[in-house]
Amino acid sequence: MNSFFKGAACGLALLIHQSLPAFAEDVTLNAIFMKQAAYSEDDTKAMAKAFEGANPGLKVNLEFVPYEALHDKIVAAQGAGSSGYDVVLFDVIWPPEFATKGFLQDVTARVPKGDRDKVFDGAWTTVDYDGKIWGMPWILDTKYLFYNEDMLKQAGISAPPKTFEELAEQAKIIKDKGIAKYPIVWSWSQAEALICDYTSMVGGARGSFTQDGKLSFDTGGSVEAVNYMKKTLDDGVTNPNSREYLEEDVRKVFSAGEAAFAMNWTYMFNMANDPKESKVAGKVGIVPAPGFKGKAEASAINGSMGLGISAGSKHPDEAWKFITFMTSQETQNKYAKLSLPIWKSSYEDPAVTKGQEKLIDAAKVSLGVMFARPMTPSYPELSSILQKNIQQVLLGQASTDDAMKAATKAAGRLR
């Protein structure tokens, strides 16, 4: 035991030498980003370095956390009253909550009037709540319909589906011809990913999440969406494992060449085309997610993220300078390989489009029709309610009507 204690004592001694934050006369901004951001960690660091180079005296301290921890860390730092982070990356579903609870600073006055028209409307909804602006959109992302070009050719299908009905029909053909056992794969695990696919479909059915100003999920587009999900499962065209899949599982199944169709975020396009990661490289087709027949041509979910100034920041002006730099057209065009810019005119710039023309073509349509998830300060709880009830339908534990009525009722009781 003796040497054991000695080791521990050494450990304690080491502690005392732990580095303390350096004191500098310059302003240091603390910023929290996430690991899963469309931009890679290296790209984000390079952007921050470029910012420091252009602004002597300003330093940026970057922290990267998993998406699952991002909300909790922002909330913990602010709630505990520490000034913590100056710049925070937030998901599109958080502004109502962050705005009402005072986690973010209102930046409406800081956004140049001229910029409003140059950026996609869908991007603005990411940072907009209650008529005010709470940050700048940074990552513009939505889910597309990916398809395996070889499989479609083999099945004699000339063009990818334009409607959800067509998608099911084509999938049926592919299944019947024995080309793929389960042609479509989705991320319908009990998680936000499920709500993203669902929302896209509700948008594609021109549905709405409110009725007479109240949250409502038991009529119209919402019911149509859930019925469609369930039917594709019953018909055997949707991979039944979708009910436990997240986005990464979808990517693996599609990249292994087992699915003809997959719904996923922008990032899958370049990864599914990477031979090291994928067996279908070079055969990846991408189109906007379809709409329902007679309702919409295309559908898309707003899965964007924005950069905001946290309420406790002591350096809001410097923080805004950094945000402006990170979201500028120049910076975004330079790193457009993993995440597409928020600026409309970038999509005509050859420097951005080169090598990813297929993606850009789909993006031009999708980004214009991005549909938002319900806007409410209690969104996290609402999402849990929807996840549970939709899953009950998909698992055959409840009928669509019963489950969606239950969801509406629970939503009405939100505290």
């Binding site: 004592a9 732990q18 303390l20 998993p66």
Partner: protein, 280 residues
């Protein structure tokens, strides 16, 4: 005791089953760590990778700025410092407490009160403590983790050691006290060595609990200066392109230090006490 041949064969078969059940999942982890992404998504499953790929292990030992290796190695250092320090403090405070509970009965409600704090879901304590550490400037510092972990380790170190001391007969201590030894000498020279098995078990238990803790560490640390292994592993597991091979490799390497410590502690853990010196 003599064993029949049948019994011997049965023992070996049972041992084989045990060994396979422990090693099979870990072996799979190892296979994943040396397979490339395409091999892992082949159906039917390819049990042995076509071309073993050890590049992840190489990556985990690189020391370049911002590399996976730096993240892993600093997390390893932090985890070792945190787990050893917290265990040492918990033992230093828990052993006398356990001895007191065992030898001077009548304060058991206090022990139960301590154990009840251990029943509290950590989520309930995490925010108030965050506030405290933030005020003290101890966020993103291993010290805060050591302090928190002490309170997690203390209740059961105390309890486990108490049950260990209970099985040490008072008579052998009385003999020593007649010889003029003071309490401290009795505790360190007589009682502790006799209760070595409990001490070893408590130490190992404490060490692994601290090694494993995730939720506090996730919220209280933010970079390589303080992130511990579970947090670093969660970081590897995040990211849009999850490399399961890399997670497997990190996981295996993370298990090594406790396995080594456990291997060396085994002697004290399982030291057979001479029959008769202790009553059953």
């Amino acid at each position: 005791m003599r064993r029949s041949l049948t019994a011997t064969i049965l023992v070996y078969v049972a041992v084989a089953v045990f060994v396979v059940s422990i090693l099979a999942p870990v072996a799979w982890l190892f296979i994943m760590s040396i397979s490339d992404a395409n091999d892992l998504t082949t159906i039917p499953l390819r049990w042995i990778p076509e071309q073993p790929d050890f590049s992840r292990y190489a990556r985990l030992f690189s020391l370049e700025e911002g590399s996976a290796g730096l993240a892993f190695l600093s997390a390893l250092r932090n985890s070792v410092v945190v787990a050893l320090s917290a265990t040492a403090i918990a033992l230093a405070a828990g052993i006398p407490a356990a001895y007191s509970f065992s030898r001077f009965p009548g304060r058991m409600p206090l022990l139960y009160a301590v154990i009840v704090t251990y029943m509290m879901p950590p989520v309930a304590l995490i925010l108030p403590l965050y506030k405290v550490f933030s005020t003290l400037g101890l966020l993103n510092n291993v010290t805060s983790l050591i302090i928190v972990y002490c309170t997690i380790l203390l209740p059961f170190v105390t309890w486990l050691m108490k049950s260990g001391f209970d099985s040490v007969p008072v008579e052998i201590e009385q003999a020593a006290s007649i010889d003029g030894a003071n309490l401290f000498q009795i505790l360190t020279r007589i009682t502790l060595p006799v209760a070595a098995a409990s001490t070893g078990a408590a130490a190992l238990f404490a060490l692994l609990l601290a090694w494993d803790e995730f939720f506090y560490a996730l919220l209280y640390t933010s970079d390589t200066r303080a992130k511990t292994l579970p947090v670093a592993i969660a970081d590897f597991a995040a990211g849009r392109a999850t490399d399961y091979g890399l997670i497997s490799a990190v996981g295996l390497l993370a298990a090594l230090p406790p396995v080594l410590i456990g291997f060396f502690l085994q002697k004290s853990l399982l030291s057979g006490l001479s029959a008769g010196s202790v009553k059953g």
